[in-house]
Amino acid sequence: MKTEPNRAADRVSEDELHALVDGRLNDVQRQAIETRLAGDPVALATRIAWQRQRDALRALHPSLLEEAIPPSLLVAAQRAAGARQQVNGWWRWGGVAAGVVCVFGLGWMARGLDTAPGASAQLVAESRAPSAARDFVRQASVAHMVYAPEVRHPVEVGAAQQEHLVQWLSKRLERSLKVPDLRAQGYELVGGRLLPGTDGARAQFMFENAERQRVTLYLGALSHVAGADAPGAAPSPDRTESAFSFSADGPVPGFYWVDQGFGYALAGALSRAQLMELAQAVYRQL
């Protein structure tokens, strides 16, 4: 060792150089290697080159850390987080409590405004829905409450432009949509609009009968609902579907269901039986 200090055992290994350059050593280790490097010009040159490389690489594309995230990526993240929430918080209620209080408040107000007779009475009656679906149906209900009373601007695109409406919303929801025909039940299409939901874009179609009663159909991607990814479950296309469920959680009651990863909620200040009839009519046509 003493005779040929640059040979064999005393030589700084590549692994040691990596650890040194990447800052993976404690002070003692680092100093020991630095000392040995002093007598090994080849390794020292490598160390300098690698250090320079590392510094340059660390400075690569810094602007990407600052600039705004493209909306498409935010939507994808939103969708992923939504999926996680469904997987994770399926039967967990704690996090939902605040939402329930909020809904209760809205329901109370709605009763005061006389938009939803009967709705508030049932407000906390049924609450078995899993949180993601609950969230979905609650948003449907709130969207109904917000837009259904509108006189001048109930929809963004009116029924006169139905074809455009369907094309537009199909494009935004990335799924071929159909507007159900509810004329047999006495309801005409008013039009529709695009809305933001937890998982991305949602659409709302509004219908109205001769007595000016309105119902809204709210829809949007809702993958993984109904425990589609339940641990150990055999993958089955049927698992993305769910039965009809009634919810009186929101300001107005509604029926909701999931079909092929898409959620649907039909909401309106109607009786459960009336809503059921309409929901079934919609379901048959989609």
């Binding site: 590549e14 692994d15 990596h18 990447d22 993976r24 010009p41 080849v42 390794a43 040159a45 490598t46 080159a49 690698w50 490389q53 590392r54 340059a56 690489l57 660390r58 400075a59 690569l60 594309h61 810094p62 990407l64 850390l65 600052e66 600039e67 995230i69 493209p70 498409s72 990526l73 935010l74 994808a76 993240a77 939103q78 969708r79 992923a80 987080a81 939504g82 999926a83 996680r84 929430q85 997987v87 994770n88 918080g89 993958s223 993984h224 990814d229 641990p231």
Partner: protein, 184 residues
């Protein structure tokens, strides 16, 4: 829920993807596909485990698939070498900024070496984390890292642009690996 956590990782994922692919469009495509994959694979992420490492592992898999597809496309028709492709997609030479030279040299590294080098430097991951992300033994990480650093050093010393052609030549010298042979 980890929506914000997820969003917080997007800038890092974008930067890594950009360095990996040398192309803004391809990079965001890669991030997008990674997030979509996260959406369908969430159940496999254990709460409390390293979200960032998990996302990078997903991205690695997606990238490998993208590269394979590009190779397949190349074989069936247009003669496009992946390395050449990445090189032409890199930003045009608008001067001699180190970043551009570096990026141009970077795309000449074999895929697996580039990934290791970027995870270790750009992402500052530990060797064990890199091994976990790429699903290879730590020993493999270290040997790839050695080859990547030596190769990149050669490329940078040679002046970036006018170096030897990519492909088989690069692979051959990369394998030789007696790193400390270069004298100043």
């Amino acid at each position: 829920m980890p929506r914000q956590a997820l969003v917080d990782h997007i800038p890092g994922l974008r930067r890594y993807a950009r360095a990996l692919t040398a192309d803004a469009w391809l990079a965001d495509d890669l991030v997008q596909d990674t997030l979509e994959r996260a959406c369908s694979k969430w159940r496999l992420w254990l709460v409390g485990s390293d979200l960032r490492a998990w996302l990078f592992a997903l991205m690695h898999n997606v990238h490998v698939n993208h590269v394979r597809r590009a190779m397949r496309d190349a074989r069936s028709g247009q003669l496009v070498d992946v390395d050449n492709l990445a090189d032409t997609l890199a930003a045009p030479a608008t001067g001699h900024e180190t970043g551009l030279d570096l990026q141009r040299c970077l795309v000449r590294l074999p895929e697996d070496q580039r990934a290791v080098l970027l995870l270790v430097t750009l992402e500052d991951m530990s060797y064990a984390q890199v091994a976990q992300v790429l699903k290879v033994p730590v020993g493999t990480v270290m040997s790839r890292l050695s080859r990547a650093r030596s190769r990149l050093r050669e490329l940078m010393d040679a002046g970036g642009a006018q170096v030897m052609p990519p492909g088989p030549v690069a692979a051959a010298t990369g394998d030789a690996a007696p790193v400390l042979r270069r004298m100043k």
